[in-house]
C-alpha cells in the first residue's frame, strides 16, 4: 500500500489506451442483452453483517495451536452455522464480557513471526462488527497448549486475570474499564486463575493446596495458601476443572474422577470430595496399573450448568494416566446430590464439552473435526457442524 499515494500522479498514463478498450467492450456487450428478458438483477453494495453480541445459544471456540489457524469462531447452536470469526495468535485464550458484546483475547506476537521482539497483549474486539478496538500490553503470558483457566474475568467483567509463566508464575490483573494493567501478583509454586468475589482469585498449587489472592482496600494484592486438599502425586486435580466466578464455586476434578467442591473466598470452604464413578454405582477409579475403568478425560473434559448445578463430564474406559483420552460418553451428574442422571453416547469420541447457561440449555460436544449440538435431557444429537480443530470453548455467561 505504501506506493499508492506516491504514484497517484501518474494516473493520467494509460487512460487513453484504456478508454478505447472500454468503449469497444461496452459497445460489443450492449448488443448481447435479449430484448424481452426478465428484469435485470440489481447491483449490491458490500458491507459487514452486524454482530449483536454472543447469544445464549452461541458457542465460541478457538483453533488448536499447531494443528490449525488460531482465531475465535462463533457457531450458532440453533443452526450450526458460523456467525463470526476473530483473529488471534497461536497459543491465545479468550473471554467474553458478561454482556457477550466485547471479546477479550490474550495473545502473543513476535515481530518476525517466530523471532524478533515479543509482544504480549490483551486485544479487545467489539462494536457493531466485532472489530478490533485496541490492545493492552501485558507483562507476560503462558505459552502452552490452551488452558481455560489461564485467562479469565471477574464475574462483573471489571477485571481480567492473565496467568503468566516465563517461567516464574504470576497473575497479571487488568482493569478492563480503565484498560490498564494494575498489578502483577506472584504465585510461586502455583498456576491458573479461578476468580471469586469482586477482585479475588484462587490458583492451584503444586503441593495440593490453593493460593488465594485478594486485593485490600488500596487495591494491593496479598497471597496466602490454604491447606493441602488433594494428593498431587497420586491423583492430581485437572487443569480443566470447573470454576464459576459468579458464585465462587469451583469443582476440582481429579484424574481418577474425584470431585472436590470448593467455595472460593479469602478462606475457602472445602466440601467433601465425591467420586464420579461411585455416583454411577461403580468402584472409584484408582491409579493401579491395569485398572481399566471409566475415567474423565479429554482436552476440556467438564462443563457445569450453573442454574441446575449439573456437571457434564467426558468419560472413557481406560487405564490410569489416560486423562487426555477423548470421551465416548458424556455423564450428566447432579452436583448437589452427587448422583449420575444420564450417560449420553457421543457420535464419535469428543475432546471438549460445553453447556449453555440459559433456561433451555444446549449440550455441546466437540471432536477434532465436529461440533455436535445435543439435548442435555435426552442425549439426542440435534445437529452436527464441521469445525477446525478446537482448542478452547466458551458460552455466554460463563
Amino acid at each position: 500500500m505504501k506506493r499508492i499515494a506516491h504514484e497517484a500522479n501518474k494516473a493520467a498514463l494509460g487512460v487513453a489506451a484504456l478508454s478505447m478498450l472500454v468503449a469497444t467492450g461496452l459497445g460489443t456487450a450492449a448488443c448481447a442483452a435479449g430484448a424481452a428478458a426478465p428484469p435485470v438483477l440489481q447491483s449490491e453494495t458490500a458491507g459487514v453483517t452486524p454482530f449483536a453480541g454472543l447469544t445464549a445459544h452461541d458457542v465460541a471456540y478457538s483453533g488448536m495451536d499447531g494443528i490449525t489457524d488460531g482465531g475465535v469462531r462463533i457457531v450458532n447452536g440453533d443452526t450450526g452455522g458460523l456467525v463470526a470469526s476473530v483473529y488471534s495468535s497461536q497459543y491465545a485464550n479468550f473471554a467474553w464480557a458478561p454482556d457477550g458484546k466485547t471479546l477479550y483475547i490474550s495473545e502473543t506476537y513476535w515481530a518476525l513471526g517466530n523471532r524478533g521482539t515479543r509482544e504480549d497483549v490483551l486485544s479487545i474486539y467489539g462494536g457493531p462488527t466485532l472489530a478490533n478496538e485496541g490492545e493492552i500490553t501485558l507483562p507476560g503470558r503462558l505459552i502452552s497448549d490452551p488452558k481455560t483457566h489461564s485467562f479469565t474475568l471477574s464475574a462483573d467483567g471489571h477485571y481480567a486475570y492473565n496467568y503468566s509463566f516465563q517461567p516464574a508464575p504470576a497473575v497479571t490483573v487488568v482493569d478492563l474499564r480503565a484498560r490498564k494493567v494494575i498489578d502483577s501478583v506472584e504465585i510461586p509454586g502455583c498456576g491458573l486463575v479461578f476468580p471469586f468475589g469482586q477482585r479475588g482469585f484462587a490458583s492451584l498449587c503444586a503441593d495440593g493446596s490453593l493460593a488465594v489472592s485478594d486485593a485490600n482496600a488500596q487495591g494491593k494484592y496479598a497471597v496466602h495458601r490454604t491447606k493441602r486438599f488433594f494428593d498431587v502425586m497420586t491423583d492430581p486435580v485437572m487443569d480443566e476443572s470447573i470454576g464459576d466466578p459468579s458464585s465462587g464455586l469451583a469443582l476440582f476434578i481429579t484424574y481418577d474422577g474425584w470431585v472436590h467442591p470448593v467455595h472460593l473466598a479469602d478462606s475457602p470452604k472445602f466440601d467433601k470430595p465425591w467420586s464420579i464413578e461411585q455416583a454411577a454405582g461403580l468402584s472409584p477409579a484408582t491409579s493401579h496399573v491395569g485398572q481399566i475403568t471409566w475415567r474423565p478425560g479429554g482436552q476440556v473434559p467438564a462443563a457445569y450448568e450453573r442454574s441446575r448445578e449439573r456437571l457434564f463430564v467426558l468419560m472413557h474406559e481406560g487405564p490410569p494416566w489416560s486423562f487426555e483420552k477423548a470421551g465416548t460418553e458424556i455423564w450428566v451428574l447432579d452436583a448437589r446430590t452427587h448422583r449420575l442422571l444420564h450417560r449420553w453416547a457421543v457420535p464419535e469420541s469428543a475432546y471438549l464439552v460445553a453447556v449453555t447457561q440459559d433456561a433451555h440449555p444446549l449440550l455441546i460436544a466437540l471432536s477434532h473435526t465436529w461440533l455436535w449440538v445435543m439435548n442435555p435431557e435426552s442425549g439426542a444429537v440435534l445437529r452436527a457442524t464441521q469445525i477446525v480443530t478446537p482448542g478452547l470453548v466458551g458460552v455466554r455467561g460463563e
Binding site: 500500500m1 506506493r3 499508492i4 504514484e7 497517484a8 501518474k10 494516473a11 493520467a12 498514463l13 494509460g14 487512460v15 489506451a17 484504456l18 478508454s19 478498450l21 472500454v22 468503449a23 469497444t24 467492450g25 461496452l26 460489443t28 456487450a29 450492449a30 448488443c31 448481447a32 442483452a33 435479449g34 428478458a37 426478465p38 435485470v40 438483477l41 440489481q42 447491483s43 449490491e44 453494495t45 458490500a46 458491507g47 459487514v48 453483517t49 452486524p50 454482530f51 483453533g63 490449525t68 489457524d69 482465531g71 462463533i74 452455522g81 458460523l82 456467525v83 463470526a84 470469526s85 476473530v86 483473529y87 488471534s88 474486539y125 462488527t129 466485532l130 472489530a131 478490533n132 464441521q386
Partner: protein, 179 residues
C-alpha cells in the same frame, strides 16, 4: 485510503452503468498507476470473454450452475471464485462476517445467470482480518487469468486498502450487467 474506497466495485458499476466514463477511468488510473500498458480493465475483462457469444453459449460452469443456494460452489455467481464462501462464514455474497472487513479492491469476473441467461459483472471481494474461515472452500476458474493480469486473478490476496492482509473469505458482489 479514502481514494481507494470501493474502487473496484464502484468503478465497475459506473462503467457498467455507462456513467461518467472519464471520471471512473481516472479513478481507476489512481490504482493502476505505473501501468501505462495495463489493459486490464474489469470491463475489458468482460468484453474479452466475448460477452455476446458467452451469454448465449455459457461455459461448462454456467451450464451446471444454480441460482438458489449461495452456500454451494456451483451457485451461478461463483463462476470465478477461489476460496471460502462468505455465505458459509457468517456473511453473505455481499456482506463480510463480523470480525472481518471488506476490501475496497477486488478482481472482476463475469458470470451467466441461468435464470435470465444474462452475463453479470461480479466483484470478487475478499473479507480480510480474521483467520481463514475454512468453510465451503471453492475453486472455480471460469475465465480466471494468470497473476500477470491481476484484475482477473483469484490468487492474489485482495486485501489492499484494509487494515489486514489476513484472508478470511470471498464474496461475489453483483455489480451489474456485463453487457
Amino acid at each position: 485510503m479514502n481514494r481507494l474506497d470501493n474502487w473496484g466495485e464502484r468503478v465497475t458499476r459506473r462503467l457498467a452503468g455507462r456513467l461518467s466514463r472519464r471520471s471512473a477511468l481516472s479513478r481507476l488510473g489512481a490504482l493502476l498507476v505505473a501501468a501505462p500498458a495495463f489493459p486490464l480493465l474489469p470491463v475489458q475483462r468482460a468484453r474479452a470473454a466475448d460477452s455476446a457469444a458467452h451469454a448465449q453459449k455459457g461455459t461448462d460452469f454456467s451450464r451446471a450452475a444454480q441460482t438458489h443456494d449461495d452456500t454451494a460452489c456451483n451457485y451461478w455467481r461463483y463462476c470465478g471464485i477461489d476460496g471460502n464462501l462468505c455465505s458459509c462464514c457468517g456473511g453473505s455474497t455481499h456482506s463480510c462476517p463480523p470480525g472481518s472487513q471488506p476490501s475496497p479492491t477486488s478482481w472482476i469476473g463475469s458470470c451467466i445467470n441461468p435464470d435470465d441467461q444474462r452475463a453479470y459483472l461480479i466483484a470478487y471481494r475478499d473479507c480480510c482480518g480474521a483467520n481463514e474461515c475454512n468453510q465451503c472452500s471453492c475453486l472455480n476458474t471460469d475465465h480466471a487469468m494468470p497473476i500477470y493480469r491481476p484484475q482477473a486473478n483469484n490468487h492474489i490476496i485482495w486485501c489492499f486498502g484494509t487494515q489486514s492482509f489476513e484472508y478470511h473469505c470471498s464474496m461475489a458482489v453483483l455489480v451489474g450487467l456485463a453487457e
